[in-house]
């Protein structure tokens, strides 16, 4: 089981009820730095990198396994099992919101709450449903990734190839956040933006909070509302924070909203 913790570069801070923080597409566990610090006093905060991101073990990347979000949900469950986590508050950003939904649908006994930050069950518009994107948009993102990985891939190569004769570069990259292997980033973009998890929402019995940002291009309000409506008994909180990453751009507001939800859930008003 120990290799699961290495594979996903699991980091634990604080003690108490477990709070599992799952980063979204395009970044790694560093995006939780403010939120993790705010909860480490009261919770056992568990951080990890999805395989292919951050300091995860790239060698464990398996195209077949990670061709669907189930592969990632499986990793989340394995981390819970490896650490014997119960009564987990799962906080998932972006695509990890749906990864949490899949994990909670499969093993509801592990989870106390789902906190979904900027969730979308389907990014592509579909017959009355507004996800915010057309199929073609995904291809444009992939092109964009190509352009921006040109320089990166040259810099990443020694790290990926395990070549240690450029220590300065390795050091620089070790200090950089949100790095990703270009090929894996493309595959993750595909599975993220082409997934359709709308039907999975009804399978969830875990209480949930939907945190919706303002002016979020990736997960527009229609998408967040849809998740809220399909998750039975979920709450919906609209943040003033703009963009798709309130955990970075407005950590105070994000932390306050999560704390308010968890406090009220603890003393339910019948």
């Amino acid at each position: 089981m120990a290799d699961v913790l290495v594979r996903n570069h699991v980091v634990i801070r604080g003690r108490g009820q477990p709070m599992l923080l799952a980063h979204g597409y395009g970044c790694d566990q560093n995006m939780w730095r403010h939120v993790a610090a705010a909860f480490a006093g009261d919770y056992r905060v568990v951080l990890f990198d999805h395989v292919g991101a951050g300091r995860s073990d790239l060698a464990q990347y398996d195209e077949g396994k990670y061709a669907t979000l189930d592969g990632y949900a499986n990793d989340v469950l394995e981390i819970c099992d490896a650490l014997a986590l119960r009564d987990v508050v799962f906080v998932g950003h972006s695509v990890s919101a749906m990864i949490g939904v899949l994990a909670a649908a499969r093993r509801p006994e592990l989870f106390a709450h789902l906190v979904l930050v900027g969730p979308s069950a389907r990014y592509i518009d579909d017959d009355g449903y507004v996800g915010g994107f057309a199929r073609d948009d995904i291809d444009k993102l992939l092109d964009q990734l190509d352009s921006n990985h040109l320089g990166w891939s040259r810099a990443m190569a020694p790290v990926i190839m395990g070549n240690a004769d450029r220590p300065a570069l390795a050091e620089e990259l070790a200090e950089s956040f949100c790095r990703a292997d270009p090929a894996i980033a493309k595959a993750f973009a595909r599975v993220t933006f082409l997934s359709d998890n709308r039907d999975d929402l009804a399978r969830v019995v875990t209480p949930a909070l939907v945190l919706q940002c303002s002016h979020d291009v990736i997960a527009p309000e229609t998408a967040g509302r849809f998740v809220h409506e399909r998750l039975r008994g979920s709450r919906f909180t609209q943040l003033k924070a703009t963009g798709h990453c309130p955990n970075l751009s407005a950590p105070d507001e994000t932390v306050t909203a999560i704390k308010a939800y968890l406090a009220s859930a603890r003393c339910p008003v019948a």
């Binding site: 970044c27 730095r33 964009q144 320089g151 949100c178 963009g243």
Partner: protein, 386 residues
């Protein structure tokens, strides 16, 4: 004077060959220089306090900005040289490279972002070409791998067919031996007991029968040898070629005497090989040199050896009738003979030689001048240990 100084300070911002803009905490553009306005085709009043930087991007760029750039900018405080296409008011795209720096207050709250934009039309074209080249080379590598896989499958199939053929030849020639022995035996009995009772025609038939049976025995023996050369029957061991040559000369002694031939050899090395097969190789080459001797002179046969890289190169040269160089390849093919029935032969000897040499990791070839003689050369790997 003051006014001029102010203008001199202002111009480098407004008219720099670089686009500048500043966005506030909510992402709205609060300041933008003339250059960036010109590039994008908007007026300052349409942009300031109204548009976000993301509004200048096409959908792919927006997604990249939100999923990659924004987190990186928050975590590092800057991002450098990010490739983005800005969309002009008229819908045209401009290739740019974007840098951004985030300014924060003492508590770490971000205050504003400074964004600088460089035109990168040429660079982007190079990059697109690089990407295209990379994709093409990846495709070529895939095609190559597929071709190699197909070739290796074809090779395996060929090897299988070859093996089956070899087994068939072996089985057929082996099974032919028993009835052939019967034919020879009864021909001998017939000759021993009834030769006197036969007339000339009968004796002629009997002689034909005996010579046919002898020829067929040779053919079957050579076929068996050919089918066994190389393959599973190989027994490799250190083999002193001097000893092998002495044995072969012993076997050919009667022919050598009859032809009044002179055979000379360099001292020969020890090689790791199948002794029986190398004996067949030398016997066939020497037998050929004797068989195709010049009618007007007695055979002079010389065996020499030299070291070439990690191989031994052997040469068996004679002063026989030789052959035209256009046949230099053909003579190594089974059943291809340059001569008719005037010189007896099964057409297998040189095919066997080639198979033996190939099975030992070497090659064999021939050079000749008609009327003057031939040289048969073959290479064998030199034993590292020896």
């Amino acid at each position: 004077m003051q006014l001029e100084a102010y203008a001199a300070l202002e111009d480098p911002y407004e008219d720099a060959p670089i686009g500048y803009c500043t966005t506030d905490h909510a992402g709205l553009i609060t300041r933008i220089n003339r250059t960036l306005l010109e590039w994008t085709g908007y007026g300052a009043d349409e942009v300031i306090g109204r548009r976000r930087f993301a509004d200048f991007l096409a959908i792919g760029g927006k997604m990249f900005l939100e999923t990659h750039l924004a987190p990186a900018l928050h975590l590092h405080g800057h991002v450098y040289e990010v490739a983005l296409d800005l969309v002009r008011k008229d819908g045209a795209a401009i290739a740019t490279l974007v840098n951004a720096v985030q300014r924060r207050d003492d508590l770490g709250h971000d205050l504003f972002n400074r964004i600088t934009v460089f035109k990168a039309t040429e660079r982007r074209r190079y990059e697109q070409e690089l990407l295209l080249a990379r994709r093409e080379s990846e495709q070529a590598a895939k095609d190559l791998a597929r071709t190699i896989a197909e070739l290796s499958r074809a090779n395996e199939a060929l090897a299988r067919v070859n093996e089956e053929l070899s087994q068939f030849t072996h089985a057929a020639s082996h099974d032919l031996q028993a009835p052939l022995r019967g034919v020879s035996m009864y021909a001998e009995l017939l000759a021993a007991r009834y030769r006197g009772a036969l007339d000339d025609t009968g004796r002629h038939y009997l002689a034909q029968l005996e010579s046919g049976a002898t020829r067929m025995r040779e053919l079957v023996r050579d076929l068996l040898d050919l089918s066994q050369a190389g393959g599973a029957a190989m027994r490799r061991a250190p083999t002193p070629l001097d000893e092998v040559l002495a044995e072969v000369l012993q076997l050919l002694d009667a022919d050598i005497r009859q032809a009044e031939a002179l055979v000379a050899s360099d001292p020969l090395p020890v090689v790791t090989a199948d002794r029986r097969q190398l004996a067949q190789l030398l016997r066939n080459l020497l037998a050929n040199a004797l068989k195709y001797r010049h009618p007007e002179r007695s055979p002079r046969i010389r065996i020499s050896v030299r070291s070439v890289d990690d191989h031994w190169e052997f040469a068996v040269s004679d002063n026989g009738v030789g052959f035209a160089m256009e046949h230099a390849e053909r003579i190594f093919e089974a059943f291809k003979r340059l001569h008719g029935s005037d010189i007896p032969g099964t057409g297998i000897g040189l095919a066997l030689c080639r198979k033996v040499v190939a099975a030992h990791g070497g090659r064999i070839w021939a050079e000749s001048t008609p009327g003057e003689g031939s040289i048969f050369r073959f290479m064998l790997p030199r034993d590292e240990a020896a």
